[in-house]
């Protein structure tokens, strides 16, 4: 297993190099003079020259790429043009906000989706099955901004149960250590702030998790239906094993691989930043960070944002692959 992980990590190197090449090229794909485009029509020649100097655009491509790579290897993602601070430092709070929201949304999606799918398959053609699958169908087809607005209107505006915006109460700022608010407040033992942060996660988390939940439920159901018909499930039944154990231990474990695939893809997508959700709920996530950078033509930030998101996607896929071989002994390392 350890050797397999090492080999898989080794195989990541070409992928990462490819990714860096693409993000590096972004700035050179700008038509005309990149510095001119970034600074706009009215820029003085001195300013353009200065920016070219700063971005190293006046050097040969290979030298530029070499410097870019050297920076990446040391964890240097460049400097934001707008704020003049290193992207590595700047992006982290946004990234942490996105990761926290994604984890919360995926936990919701997995718990609800997997169980709904399992029970639907187990009680196929029952009322539960029909209603769960109708809800799942609505879930995959629901425009997320509409769902978010409805949630805000009902649970924040009308009922006043949950906050509608942001990550915490702005009048009671959280001292950040890791920028994962739930973790930070727990580390400081500040339970009030922990609950506030948790309450802020609920609405955006559910909004963000609805589509993955529906997809997971449908995938779990179809995979389970196939497994529950198989010979080995009949064997387990013939042993007189309890129903729950038949369905979850033998049934779901055999059905889990396609579900894992979907969970991986969905997690990757959510980590890319869900701009709609983040905008509606004023969530300071990486999607909005990159989106703002595009508006500001802040190319180093755009490059780094894309690189970081792609990197996380690749890592999630790696984890999913490792989980496959953990679940199924027939998948060779």
């Amino acid at each position: 297993m350890g050797a397999y992980i090492l080999r898989r990590l080794f195989m990541l190197i070409p992928v990462l190099i490819g990714m860096s090449l693409i993000t590096f090229s972004i700035i050179h794909l700008i038509p005309g003079n990149p510095a001119q485009t970034i600074l706009g029509e009215q820029a003085t020649p001195q300013a353009i020259e200065q920016l070219e100097e700063q971005l190293g655009l006046n050097e040969p491509y290979l030298v530029q790429y070499g410097k870019y790579m050297a920076g990446l290897v040391q964890g240097d993602l460049g400097t934001s043009l707008r704020t003049n601070s290193p992207v590595t430092e700047e992006i982290w709070p946004f990234l942490a906000a996105t990761i926290e929201l994604t984890i919360f949304a995926m936990i919701f999606a997995i718990i609800v989706g997997v169980n709904a799918g399992i029970i639907s398959a187990w009680k196929q053609n029952s009322i539960f099955d029909y209603s769960a699958m109708i809800i799942a169908l609505i879930g995959v087809s629901m425009p997320i901004f509409w769902l978010g607005l409805m949630q805000q209107w009902i649970f924040a505006q009308e009922l006043g149960w949950l906050p509608a915006f942001g990550r915490n109460n702005p009048r009671d700022p959280i001292e950040t250590i890791t920028h994962f608010y739930l973790l930070d407040t727990l580390l400081q033992g500040n339970m009030d702030q922990f609950w506030t942060a948790l309450r802020h996660l609920i609405l955006p988390g559910i909004a963000l998790g609805t589509i993955p939940m529906a997809i997971i439920a449908r995938m779990t159901r179809s995979s389970m239906l196939e497994v529950l018909r198989s010979d080995y499930i009949r064997t387990v039944e013939a042993k007189g094993i309890a129903q729950m154990s038949v369905v979850y231990r033998h049934g779901f474990k055999n059905a889990v691989i396609p579900v894992l695939t979907v969970v991986g893809l969905q997690t990757g997508t959510l980590l890319g930043g869900a701009i709609l959700t983040e905008t509606i709920f004023s969530w300071p996530g990486v999607g909005r960070y990159v989106f703002d950078a595009i508006g500001n033509r802040d190319y180093p930030v755009i490059q780094s944002g894309i690189l970081v998101i792609a990197f996380m996607f690749v890592m999630i896929n790696l984890i999913v692959d490792l989980l496959y071989s953990y679940v199924d002994p027939r998948i060779k390392y």
Binding site: D231, Y232, I233, R234, T235, A238, K239, G240, I241, D328
Partner: protein, 354 residues
């Protein structure tokens, strides 16, 4: 000593409710199995023998299948226990299944859960029924693997099904089914999917376990060779009904029902090289497609008027031998040509010879 039945099936009817209507897969089937006895249930595919066995296990897929009538009485004489499986709620059924009542299936390649180790799968049922520890379960699993003749059992116990061959997997299935020391083992075509040499080994193993442990076996098969090898009594099924039953010698040497005769004639012989292999013309009718008359009438070489008008009963012949054919109606029923053919003797004797 008089033997007592461990299983008594009375007028069992298992129907499937499909879009094409209600299909009587098992239609008024009755038979019994005595303690320590091997009963063969014989018939072509689609005759209802597998559904009968699944009914006894309470494993008929529902929907679409359902036991709509009859009793399945399962007894443990020395414990004074008796259950009617046809009416038992699922939870009670799970206590018997894999405990006093076990089953092995046709497809050893797909009948083991690919994600769990052999040892876990053997001990899983034991740990549930007998509340034994993990360690004890493992010890028992090794013991069972040894009993069914698996080499290096203490290693195989930690292997996964895909690491074993088909014959080995069927041995594991048998080990699993026998681990709880059941009163009755139902074997649904246990050797069909295996090589001929492995088949013989598996049959030998089952015979040994039957003798040593006194487990009654219900052997479902389409292979009359297996019947001759293993069984004490035989039930022949056709299109959801029992058409003939009796002890194995009577059935193989002196079959009465034209269907049984046909089955025996269609066995290949090692000597008869120049003859074309006999086959019963036509196919098994879809259950429920024949509304009136004998279900075998369309394929029967001896069919006469009454066969298509009325349902024959199971007429008793000498001893336990019984046959569902108007030819044996004690009331005579039809003036029919007396020189009817019985199965050529030499063929059936060949089966019994070893």
């Amino acid at each position: 000593m008089e033997k007592k039945p461990v299983l008594e099936v009375n007028h069992l009817r298992t129907h499937f409710f499909t879009d094409d209507g209600e299909i009587p897969a098992v239609d008024d089937v009755s038979f019994y199995i005595n303690e320590g006895e091997v009963l063969g249930v014989v018939g072509e595919s689609g005759c209802g023998k597998s559904v009968t066995s699944l009914s006894i296990m309470g494993l008929v897929p529902n929907p679409p299948g359902k036991i709509v009538g009859g009793d399945i009485l399962f007894r443990r004489e020395e414990a004074g226990e008796e259950w009617n499986i046809a009416e038992l709620p699922g939870k009670e059924l799970r206590k018997i299944r894999g405990n006093q009542l076990s089953m092995i299936f046709q497809e050893p390649m797909t009948s083991l859960d690919p994600l769990y180790k052999i040892g876990f799968q053997i001990s899983e049922g034991l740990r549930r029924h007998f509340k034994i520890s993990k360690k004890e379960g493992r010890r028992k699993a090794v013991e069972m693997l040894e009993l069914v003749g698996i080499p290096r059992p203490s290693e195989v116990v930690d292997e996964y099904p895909h690491q074993l061959s088909g014959g080995m997997r069927q041995r594991v299935m048998i080990a699993m089914a026998m681990a709880s020391d059941p009163e009755l083992l139902i074997a649904d075509e246990p050797t069909t999917a295996l090589d001929v040499t492995i088949q013989a080994q598996i049959l030998e193993l089952m015979k040994r376990l039957n003798k040593e442990k006194g487990t009654a076996i219900m052997m479902i098969t389409h292979d009359l060779g297996v019947v001759a090898e293993m069984c004490d009594r035989v039930v022949v099924m056709y299109a959801g009904k029992v058409v003939e039953q009796g002890d194995v010698r009577t059935i193989l040497k002196n079959p009465k029902h034209p269907y049984t005769q046909g089955l025996i004639r269609s066995l290949p012989k090692l000597t008869g090289r120049d003859e074309r292999l006999y086959s019963i013309p036509g196919n098994v009718p879809k259950p429920g497609s024949i509304k009136r008359g004998c279900r075998f009438a369309a394929r029967c070489p001896e069919v006469f008027d009454r066969c298509v008008k009325e349902d024959p009963e199971l007429y008793s012949l000498e001893g336990e031998h019984a046959c569902r054919c108007f030819l044996y109606d004690p009331q005579g029923g039809e003036d029919h040509d007396e020189n009817r053919t019985t199965a050529p003797r030499h063929e059936s004797e060949e089966i019994l010879s070893d």
